[in-house]
């Protein structure tokens, strides 16, 4: 589904992603962990197509197509979704209204006509229930005045509505209370399927108790320095990152 080869990218003349490789197959869940500032959000933004980031090398193919050639909206229409680490507030743009536009533009891209109003409302209701998002939040302006946790939940709600094939969750668990964490994780689990993949970025192995990953990778200074199964997350929780940093230095 997603193949990243030797990706190099940076911002404002500073290289942050320094030769990154990853292969995500359909249906897989990959967790990416790593110390603050190691480049996790940068990677997410580069994959989503943020234009401030400059790609200086490497290749990314998404379902056989060159992802790096696509505009952000085309990436989304091709099935890529990024749940932002810091979702922004957009006053005056209603959640529902913009999701409707998004769905219809994605459909138009695929050559399908606009969704019927009643089908759309049904979809919204269903997905709201999935992430237990209050109805009033869905009707409000995008993230405006939402609490930190509500914003994260809204990201997962949007993901559920848009039904991407590859979802990148950038620290969606940060700032969630225990119940919300469980709800969000359940939402993700319900969306797991053999043709949908996830890249879950997190600092805490707790999330991985709920969303059990197939692989865990450690990103350090712009490259993956260690990969393993879900046990790696437990090991990191216990020992921190120092031993890995040491391994990198020694190598």
């Amino acid at each position: 589904m997603l193949t990243i080869k030797n990706l190099r990218a940076g911002i404002e003349g500073k290289e942050i992603i320094k030769g990154f490789n990853l292969e995500v197959k359909a249906g897989e869940v990959h967790a990416i962990m790593g110390p603050n500032g190691s480049g996790k959000s940068t990677l997410s933004n580069v994959l989503a197509g943020r234009e401030d980031y400059i790609v200086s090398g490497g290749e990314v193919s998404f379902n056989g197509k060159n992802l790096l050639d696509m505009s952000p909206e085309v990436r989304a229409r091709e099935g890529l979704f990024l749940a932002f680490q810091y979702p922004i507030e957009i006053p005056g743009v209603s959640n529902i209204n913009f999701l409707k536009t998004a769905i219809n533009e994605i459909r138009a891209y695929k050559g399908i006509g606009p969704m019927e109003a009643k089908d759309f409302l049904k979809l919204i209701k269903e997905k709201q229930a999935l992430v237990e998002l209050q109805g009033s939040l869905a009707g409000r302006s995008v993230n405006e005045g939402f609490s930190g946790g509500e914003k994260k939940r809204n990201e997962i709600f949007q993901m559920a509505v848009l039904e991407p094939t590859l979802a990148i969750l950038d620290e969606t668990d940060s700032g969630l209370d225990i119940d919300a964490l469980r709800i969000v994780a359940n939402g993700v689990n319900k969306l797991r399927s053999e043709n949908r993949s996830f890249i879950v970025i997190t600092h805490y192995q707790r999330l991985l108790d709920y969303i059990v990953p197939d692989f865990v990778h450690v990103l350090y200074d712009g490259v993956i320095v260690k990969s393993g199964g879900k046990e790696l997350a437990l090991e990191l929780e216990e020992k921190g990152y120092d031993w890995i940093k040491k391994e990198v230095v020694e190598a």
Partner: protein, 438 residues
Amino acid sequence: MITAEKISSTDKLVSDFEAVKKTLPGNSFVQSIRQKAIESFSALGIPARENEEYKYSNVQKLFSEAVTLSVVEMTLSKISIDKYLIPNLDAHIIVLINGFLSEELSLLKNLEKSVVVSSLQKAFEKHSEFIERHFSTCADINSDAFIALNTAYASDGVFINVPDNTVVEKPIHIINIIAAKESTFFFPRNLFVVGKSAQVQLVETFETHDLPVKAISTSVTEIAINENAKVQYYRLQNDCGNGQQINTVSASQQKNSHFDTNTVTLSGGWVRNNLNIALNGENCESHLNGLFITSDTQHVDNHTLVDHRKPHCESNQTYKGILDGKSTGIFNGKIFVQRDAQKTNAYQSSKNILLSDDATINAKPQLEIYADDVKCSHGSSTGKIDEDALFYLRARGLGIESARKLLLHAFVNDVMQTIRINALRDYLETLIHKKLGE
């Protein structure tokens, strides 16, 4: 018949007045006001660039080209006004052609009997008691050259009187159409008197009809709002093409009255709007909202003045601008709080988005406060479209154009929500959508 004179300067306008004054309507009371007005205009002169009030709007240049003076009605052979109507707006229609009321084209359907709607010329004859009480009382001839000039030359316009305790059920839609074959200069003049506890909604649209040349219109609208009255006044400057306008609206509010006004400018080469509100009684409320969306070389200048003269009044201003191309926008908002006006609440905000590097905005708040127990605030911001928000929407699959439109619509949304006539708001939404799609 057209009285035509080439004009170009203050002196010429003053001497031309001598020539045409006998043809201008109104009794001796009106004539004596005209005389004072031309003297004031002569003293004030067409504002020079050094004049702070006209610093960013070069009116001298506007007047430097010779134009024809029009003080007598020009008949326009049957035009259809259908395209100037607002879809689904059930309203009384008043049509002004070059500032002259056209009875033929106007349509008052079941207007409340006590309400008077007539041309200003007729009102000079038939309603002299109102004219003598209100004409030239809201718009001060000594405060601005164009108020003085318009008062001297005022040839026609609409007079509306809503008597005490009368609620006009349907909105009154005034359609201003400018049509001229040669460069012309017009002086429309309106007077609205709203009685105690009366209510009315006024919608004014500005259009052009087949205007191959430049036309300058200096209009003045006076609104006398009596105790407890509620007035909504919406102005839409839409298809103004070659029309160049210097519009002044001067309202005077008596106690417990409400005045809501919206000024929306979408097209028009060169527009200056002066909006003056005097709060002459306690417990008044005024809401001044404005929106301008400009492109090409458009020039839109909004000057507001809210004069708090009595205690316990509230004024609220929100002006928003979206500027593209090489257009220029100006917002100058003055708030005076006089010594007596304790417990005043005055708020002002001006927010602008520049869509191009060549567009400019000059936003200037001016607060002069002489009372000590007041709440006043003002804010002004100018920026580009929010790139983070744009990316967020695109990352959800919205194309760049629809994402931009959505954000710009969101930006103007709060001003749009202050328009309380649904059909008008829908119509504006359509026009704005079209304008932003250009």
